[in-house]
Amino acid sequence: MKVSISIKKVLLASLLSIYSLSSLNAAELKKVESEIKTPSLKLETLDGKSLDLKDELGKVVLVQFWATYCTPCRVEMPSMNKLIKKLEADKVPFKIIAVNMGETKAEVQKFVDAVKPEFTILLDSKGENVQAWNVFAAPSNFVIDTKGKIRYTLYGGVEWDSEEITKAIKDLAKESS
């Protein structure tokens, strides 16, 4: 009797685990219903230049907060490279800004050399922007429209070059044209 209860619980736990894995894969853009004021973002890039988010008005911008120790961040970066290429081919004004959460330049450089992201990496060594943007987990993503307004958020790893995400970004870009 006790054994059969235990087996049932283990089976139930396994089903729950499968469900939670599938829901992670199903992470999707979440429309921002009540407006989130876009915080400022001005930081140094990995190659020593300064970048200010407000200079990117007119483009759809994906701001991602990430860390080298975050496994989904590493896994999804190739799909972010593909998304850039896809949108470039369609002449969609789009930029990815990936803000590293509080790590050293050397740690980030080592990761970049291995994973080869083809987008801008910003260094937030003190984590000041992480806090200003209310980020408590990685990867945390904000999709910002051409007027600088946060329109979607997304937490967790995802295939960024999916049809759904590509369409959502194209639609945002169309709004300003």
Partner: protein, 258 residues
Amino acid sequence: MSQTSPYYLQKLITVGLFFLFLSSNLFAADEVKTIEMANSTDIDIRIFSAKGDKLLIGFACDQGSSKAEEETSKALAKDGVEVWMPDMLSAYMLPKVRSSLSDIPTDSLIKIIEEAQKTNKNIYLVASGPDTELILRAAQTWESTHKDKQLGGAILMFPRLNKTKPEPGKAPNYQDIVGKTKLPIMVLEGERTPNRWGIQHLTHALKKGGSTVYAKLIPDVRGYFFKRNDPNVPEDLVTSQMSGLIKASLFYLGKAHQ
């Protein structure tokens, strides 16, 4: 007779099993105590006895079966801190998944604390990850039912107390039990985990019940570093020094009562 003969192999297996038997978890602790609950569930507790005045209860572990937990318990006991490791999961036939936590009755946690109180030592609670919810639950119930017998404090290692998935741009939504106890709390968080950015927010939420809350970031380690299969050098080092970390936490928790 060749060394690869069946006789030699049999002898080798027998010796191997003997050493395995000697090194099994059951015999690493001083004692295994069994407490019977009201519903006739038996809970086994590994006890690492010590002569000091502090007693640390780890919830909801599986009797400290991981090597790091066992080594830490032994080191603490050697330094005078008694450690109790109740096996809550096996007692209630629960798998090691987050959803099991809600199936662990608060009454059973209270019963274990009551049993520990009989030693006349100061009682402290420790848990990691989502299990930290259990000790907050136990602390709240204890405070409302045992007003004359205060607990010493709680150590929350890498607490994962979110009720819902994190949402970028929004403050975390914690379990209802957060901020419902006055127990002094020490939060330990790895520096190399995204949760470090929420530590200030969590500390603030925990303080709402009247707790004195200390929070410390452990440099260069990831969450659950003592349970990882791929530890780096700092993680190995901190794991080996975990008893010191816990002793320092107990010191600060003790100060909260002064």
